[in-house]
């Protein structure tokens, strides 16, 4: 008996006991919720299971990277929605980062005008709810002229309330090879950059990295393209009936969502960048000036590498926010994952399954982004030797 009391008094044993209780408690609650849902659904005669994914969807989707028709399955429809979510998130992450860095640096500018302007931008965009901003951008997009009175920005590129219509290349076998050459060129460029860094570190002499890398990216695809007889034909948009036919289009919904997400997130990123730069002691800048480096060099070679260590972790959560915020697309008609899944859930009535799938997909996307950013964070983190 006294042994038992003794064991219970040991911090280690008690710790284990609490953890075991907590884990089993959590599992019990989870199990209860799932089984309760299932029994009640079947008690009320509501169909369950994922069999509906293989049935014909029967609804159209406004824009799609894959060829999709109403006769495809619910699963395919959801994949189309997922790709739309990924597209807008990926492009918006790039745009928001660029805009955010520019604004963040601008806010620290010694030029009064530039600094004030950046401050006003940041305070406006991050203090107005995103949904409102999206609606504003979408309303602006819809105020553009109708297709029949479309603005011809440059020849064969039309801007109307149906979006931006532009010509595309007519596909040709030569394009595929040129694309392959481009990928090989990019690989080559990466190798050049690596060699250049090594060369500089070992010999201390400069190496013409930039021109060589550029040449590696540009020359091979151009050579292949010309070599295959420069197949060059355009699919030009032409006004036919209600809308333009031919060419490709960026829809107002996509544009509004892209601008809205990028601008909103850029406001937060700008503040993160600013705090990162301010975290680097001013002495570093002075040291750089004393060495005779230009302000641009100081920013690129001294400040940013150190600031990144502060910037990357909060930046990750902004990227995650942006991706999840893209689900506000339903409000302005961009067919993202949530929009398509909502429709599927409604037509089949299997709301629990559909919502569970959506949650799982967002979780996976977020974990992937977080995983990548953590890897990047470890790379830029201070290496102590």
């Amino acid at each position: 008996m006294s042994k038992l009391v003794q064991a219970l008094n040991s911090a280690r044993v008690r710790g284990w006991l609490y953890q075991a209780l907590f884990v089993s408690g959590t599992l019990a609650v989870g199990w209860y919720l799932v089984s309760n849902t299932l029994t009640n659904l079947s008690k009320r005669g509501v169909a369950t299971g994922f069999g509906f994914l293989n049935r014909e969807a029967g609804f159209e989707i406004g824009e799609s990277l894959l060829t999709y028709a109403a006769s495809d399955t619910y699963l395919k429809a959801m994949v189309v929605g997922l790709l739309n979510t990924l597209t807008v998130s990926a492009v918006a992450i790039v745009l928001a980062s660029i805009l955010g860095i520019v604004i963040g640096v601008a806010r620290l500018s010694s030029n009064w005008m530039v600094g004030r302007f950046a401050a006003v931008f940041v305070e406006t965009v991050r203090n107005v709810p995103l949904l409102l901003q999206l609606v504003v951008w979408y309303t602006i997009m819809n105020r553009l002229p109708s297709p029949r009175e479309a603005l011809e920005v440059v020849p064969h590129v039309f801007l109307s309330n149906r979006g931006l219509k532009f010509p595309t290349f007519v596909e040709h076998a030569g394009h595929g090879w040129a694309f392959l050459a481009l990928i090989l060129g990019i690989v080559g460029a990466v190798l050049v950059v690596r060699y250049g860094r090594k060369h500089r570190e070992t010999t201390g002499k400069p190496f013409p990295t930039l021109p060589l890398a550029l040449a590696s990216v540009v020359l091979p695809p151009v050579a292949v393209f010309v070599g295959s007889g420069a197949p060059f034909a355009f699919d030009v948009p032409v006004l036919a009936g209600f809308n333009f036919e031919g060419g490709a289009a960026v829809t107002p919904e996509f544009t509004a969502l892209l601008i809205g997400l990028s601008v909103y997130t850029a406001g937060f990123i700008a503040e993160i960048v600013r705090s990162g730069i301010l975290a680097v002691p001013h002495g570093q800048t002075e040291a750089g000036l004393a060495l005779g480096l230009s302000p641009a060099h100081i920013l690129r070679l001294i400040i940013l590498p150190q600031a990144l260590r502060v910037i990357v972790p909060p930046l990750t959560s902004q990227y995650l926010n942006l991706t999840k915020n893209s689900s506000l697309a339903v409000a302005i008609g961009y067919p993202d994952l949530v929009s398509v899944t909502n429709t599927s859930a409604n037509q089949t009535g299997q709301v629990v399954e559909a919502v569970a799938m959506m949650m799982a997909v967002y979780l996976i996307i977020s974990l992937c982004i977080a995983g990548f950013m953590n890897w990047y964070n470890r790379k830029v983190a201070l290496v102590t030797r």
Binding site: N36, T139, S339, Q347
Partner: protein, 343 residues
């Protein structure tokens, strides 16, 4: 030592599942409603003519009148209703989960909702069909001229599937713009983002009446591309409740057929017509069979009115919608409204 906080947390974790198991399922809906003293009715967030709060915040509309009729039959008071405004997506789960007792929210009766979704439907209270509204400037005469059009659609209904079916059947193409919020969807249509707006014809008329300065600038094309029998719904598994909802509505239709209105219902109590006597409870029997007072139908007619009164007040000549009776006229006048004998 276990601190008090830790002990409390432990106790919560252990007892929570036990506490939850207690709340598995309530009794039958009919008894539940009777006990609560009011009907929890799921309605539209705001669809003019069907269910929308008026300028005093009181819910009115054709669907709302179904809720009121059921409350009148059950409690002798048509005001004993609590309204739950629901989006298209929320409505079925709200009914399935028992959050509401009755769903009167312009819901189309379909086979899959009747079966896989575990619902039962009361008689159709409005026969509708999906149509297209276009700008009159386009000069269109028929929905078959819509090839290549961009169409604004509200999600969460059978609407998206119907429009895809129509275009597929006629070998035409279209681009949908699917927006969840009504206001944004209508703005997109009226600003010209879409060539056509599709929805149930009654809703198109409601939108046109409420949101345009000159309703004649917009045209509702003649084709109705679907059958939309809008019907109140209840959960499966309570036949008593289903009976009451069904016959509360039929009583309104029967009253119209017999020419009994909220104004002349008191005078009709002395009518020699045996059908009227049974309807108004002068001859007893119907009330007992349904489990309510014998004057249940009298109360409905007195407080809510007959079907014609409800129709004209909410969507017909007495409203901004000015919808014709059409399919919703009595069978004696070429419509589909037909009440089986109340005996």
């Amino acid at each position: 030592m276990i601190s008090k906080l830790q002990a409390a947390a432990l106790a919560a974790v252990v007892t929570l599942p036990l506490a939850l198991t207690g709340t598995a399922q309530a009794g039958a809906t009919f008894d539940g409603v009777k006990q609560k003293g009011y009907v929890q009715c799921g309605v539209n967030l705001g669809l003019y003519g069907f269910s929308a709060p008026d300028d005093k915040g009181k819910w009115t509309g054709l669907d709302v009148d179904v809720c009121r009729a059921v409350a009148a039959a059950m409690f002798g008071d048509s005001e004993k209703v609590k309204y739950t405004p629901l989006s298209a997506q929320q409505r079925l789960p709200a009914l399935q989960s028992g959050e509401i007792d009755l769903l009167a929210r312009n819901t189309t009766r379909t086979l899959s909702r009747d079966t896989a979704n575990g619902l039962n439907f009361a008689p159709t209270n409005y026969y509708d069909g999906q149509g297209f509204m276009v700008s009159a400037k386009l000069g269109l005469k028929s929905a078959k001229q819509l090839n290549g059009a961009t169409v604004c659609v509200l999600p969460g209904t059978t609407t998206e599937q119907n429009v895809a079916d129509f275009f597929r059947a006629n070998k035409m193409n279209f681009k949908p713009v699917v927006i969840e919020k009504n206001e944004e969807l209508h703005k997109a249509f009226f600003s010209g983002r879409c060539d056509a707006l599709t929805s149930d014809a009654s809703q198109l008329a409601a939108i046109r009446a409420a949101e345009t300065q000159n309703p004649n600038d917009y045209l509702i094309l003649p084709e109705l591309i679907s059958k939309e029998p809008l019907s109140p719904a209840i959960r499966q598994g309570d036949d008593e409740w289903a009976n009451l909802v069904t016959w509360a509505f039929f009583a309104m239709v029967q009253a119209e057929e017999k020419g009994i209105t909220s104004e002349n219902v008191d005078a009709s109590m002395t009518s020699p017509d045996p059908d009227v006597k049974r309807l108004l409870g002068v001859t007893a029997g119907n009330g007992k069979a349904l489990g309510v007072e014998e004057n249940w139908a009298y109360t409905i007619i007195k407080q809510v009115g007959n079907y014609a009164q409800s129709f004209e007040r909410n969507v017909g000549a007495g409203s901004k919608l000015k919808m014709p009776r059409g399919q919703n006229a009595l069978y004696t006048e070429g419509g589909l409204m037909y009440a089986p004998p109340l005996k």
